[in-house]
């Protein structure tokens, strides 16, 4: 990033930065610019996703969703934000004033700091830390601190239950999350997010998911435990609205409340970006080597597009899971973690090690096996599409007889 700062300085003021006396001020300013850009992205992503999620959820439940504010309701999230900002910032009478006030900042900064190490494209990352993945795990744990603080200080039993559940959940799921990334780290030999992506390729069979059956298992485990870390359904126990009103944020209102859902939706990006960068090849563009990629600005933008598309697909799947699955019970949640995810992960790590020894990455056999794995994955997707078709046609005739019109109304046709 320092080079980029230097480049921008030269571009703007036509003098090398070393000669001018402003280098320190420029670097500080640059840091703020980057932070502002990330914040802008996170906030807008959270808002727009909240709108899109509601629309998708509505279609899954054969509703329409918010469509009144702006064309097709696209400004609904702005309206929601303004509404929440205008609300009274209420602090319960017996609450711990100080902790209650600071808790949202912990949640927010914990999440926002994760964006620092997340790449967006070739060379586009706020800080290419050499401990990137480790850093993201560590810093997102700060969110739990915020949640526990909020739940404890609210002096409400719902909030306290939510906080306790959150604590139990994070303690359990930190382990499979970290374990399931060990194969990736072994294959890459680095913790840096950029290096992990560079170790993969643009074509699907060069991704880590299809490296071996073991990495595929780890991918599934990582996806599940990332959902749990992000408090997404089916693991949204800390804020289970049917049991705990709204969980740890029950007592919050106004802007302080706004921070919680916003952080949650921003977290969606963090989850999806982590999944796509560790196992799905990140910003690698097919048929373009990293050397040619670094030379051209167009290709760099293409890499950003590839990354955003991959991440959006994962975000979509996470959203759809939310509207498909019911919530698990607390005991089921911990049981799933300790008796299924962790053992599977451990076996998969050992398996990957052996696989790496027998079939090193570059050999022909390894490529063939990766192609086979990809073939299985592709067949799986094909079967999935067949099942969707089956489900659609299963109800088609009944619908037509009942309503006298075709049920065909694809998602891109806006009601």
């Amino acid at each position: 990033m320092k080079e980029n700062a230097n480049l921008l300085f030269v571009f703007l003021f036509k003098t090398p930065i070393e000669g001018s006396g402003y280098s320190l001020a420029w670097y500080i300013l640059f840091v703020f610019i980057i932070a502002g850009a990330l914040l802008f992205f996170a906030a807008n992503f959270a808002g727009i996703t909240s709108f899109i999620e509601r629309r998708i959820a509505a279609r899954i439940q054969t509703r329409v969703g918010p469509n009144v504010v702006g064309p097709q309701g696209i400004l609904q999230w702005v309206a929601d934000g303004i509404k929440l900002l205008l609300k009274e910032d209420l602090i319960p009478d017996r609450a711990d004033q100080f902790l209650f006030r600071v808790a949202p900042y912990f949640v927010f900064s914990g999440l926002f700091a994760a964006f620092v190490a997340l790449p967006f494209g070739y060379g586009i990352v706020a800080a290419d830390l050499n401990v990137g993945v480790y850093y993201i795990f560590a810093i997102t744990s700060l969110v739990v601190v915020g949640i526990i603080m909020g739940g404890w200080s609210s002096n409400s039993k719902w909030a306290l239950f939510g906080a306790l559940r959150s604590a139990a959940q994070i303690i359990s799921y930190e382990i499979p999350t970290a374990l399931s990334l060990i194969p990736v780290i072994m294959l890459t030999g680095s913790l840096s997010t950029q290096d992990i992506i560079k170790a993969q390729g643009g074509l699907p069979w060069d991704w880590f998911v299809f490296h071996s059956p073991f990495t595929f298992v780890c991918f599934v485990v990582f996806f599940i435990s990332a959902l749990a870390e992000g408090n997404r359904i089916p693991f949204d126990l800390p804020e289970a609205e049917s049991e705990l009103v709204s969980g740890y944020n029950t007592e919050y209102s106004g802007f302080r409340f706004l921070v919680f859902p916003m952080a949650e939706w921003a977290n969606l990006w963090v989850i999806a970006a982590m999944v796509s960068l560790t196992y799905l090849g990140g910003w690698q563009v097919p048929f373009v080597s990293i050397e040619t990629l670094s030379g051209s600005l167009v290709l760099i933008f293409l890499s950003v597009a590839v990354f955003v598309i991959k991440t959006s697909i994962v975000v979509f799947i996470v959203m759809q899971l939310r509207w498909t699955l019911p919530r698990v019970r607390v005991d089921q949640m911990t049981q799933l973690c300790w008796t299924y995810l962790v053992p599977f992960c451990l076996v998969a790590i050992v398996g990957t090690m052996i696989w790496m020894l027998i079939f090193p990455w570059e050999t022909r056999v390894a490529l063939l096996l990766r192609l086979m794995m990809f073939g299985i994955g592709f067949a799986f997707c094909f079967f999935y599409v067949r099942r969707i078709r089956f489900n659609y046609f299963n109800d088609k005739t009944a619908y037509e007889n009942l309503k006298k019109k075709s049920p065909w109304y694809p998602i891109w046709r806006l009601p």
Partner: protein, 199 residues
């Protein structure tokens, strides 16, 4: 060991199937009727003919039997009848329905022997003032209908869109607005008093 792996397999497969079902819904027509903005055809056409909307009285076929008034469980209907002593003619001088009280049970219209009182498909009669919802169907005395052998009023074409009741409600609102200016101060005082009483 087998139940353990079976559990994994069933879980993954059922999630897979569930996802396939929800995805298929993304390609189906939403069942929402987007009232009032985006309707394929007016909602009153989409409602069935037996929809129980706001009541309407066709005073030209009312025989003044007062059955509707008596059957109404919550006394929404008020009917006054008068008789001309010399000609022995009977008149309908008042036929009011308090729609704000009505629960659309349909008992009145079911029992009317000429279908003079019936439900329309008109339903959106919201106003700012509850008094406006007392619809007065008689402006000047109307001679009562008498049964004839050759015609059955039950088979006549009914006005289901509720033209009469709509007109009456609009007229009453206009009248209210004219007199509202004089009533204003009185209203204010009474509201004030109510507030004080509550406090």
């Amino acid at each position: 060991m087998t139940p353990y792996f079976n559990a994994v397999a069933t879980t993954l497969y059922s999630i897979f199937e569930g996802m396939a079902v929800t995805t298929s819904y993304l390609f189906r027509r939403p069942s929402t009727i987007q009232y009032p903005n985006k309707l394929e055809k007016p909602l009153e056409e989409q409602l069935s003919d037996r929809y129980r909307g706001i009541l309407q009285v066709d005073t030209s076929v009312c025989i003044g039997c007062r059955i509707c008034e008596k059957t109404c469980p919550i006394d929404c209907i008020a009917i006054n009848l008068e008789k001309n002593k010399e000609t022995k003619e009977r008149f309908l001088t008042r036929f009011d329905i308090d729609i704000s009280k009505c629960m659309f049970c349909g008992l009145c219209s079911e029992n009317c022997s000429t279908c003079a009182i019936y439900h329309t498909k008109f339903f959106n009669g919201a106003t700012q003032n509850v008094d406006e919802l007392v619809v007065r169907f008689v402006d000047s005395p109307i001679v009562l209908y008498k049964h004839r052998k050759d015609s059955d009023p039950k088979t006549r074409e009914k006005d289901l869109s509720g033209v009469i009741v709509k007109q009456k409600m609009v007229k009453q609102r206009m009248k209210k607005q004219k007199t509202a200016k004089q009533e204003m101060p009185v209203n204010k005082i009474s509201k004030h008093k109510i507030k004080e009483e509550i406090l």
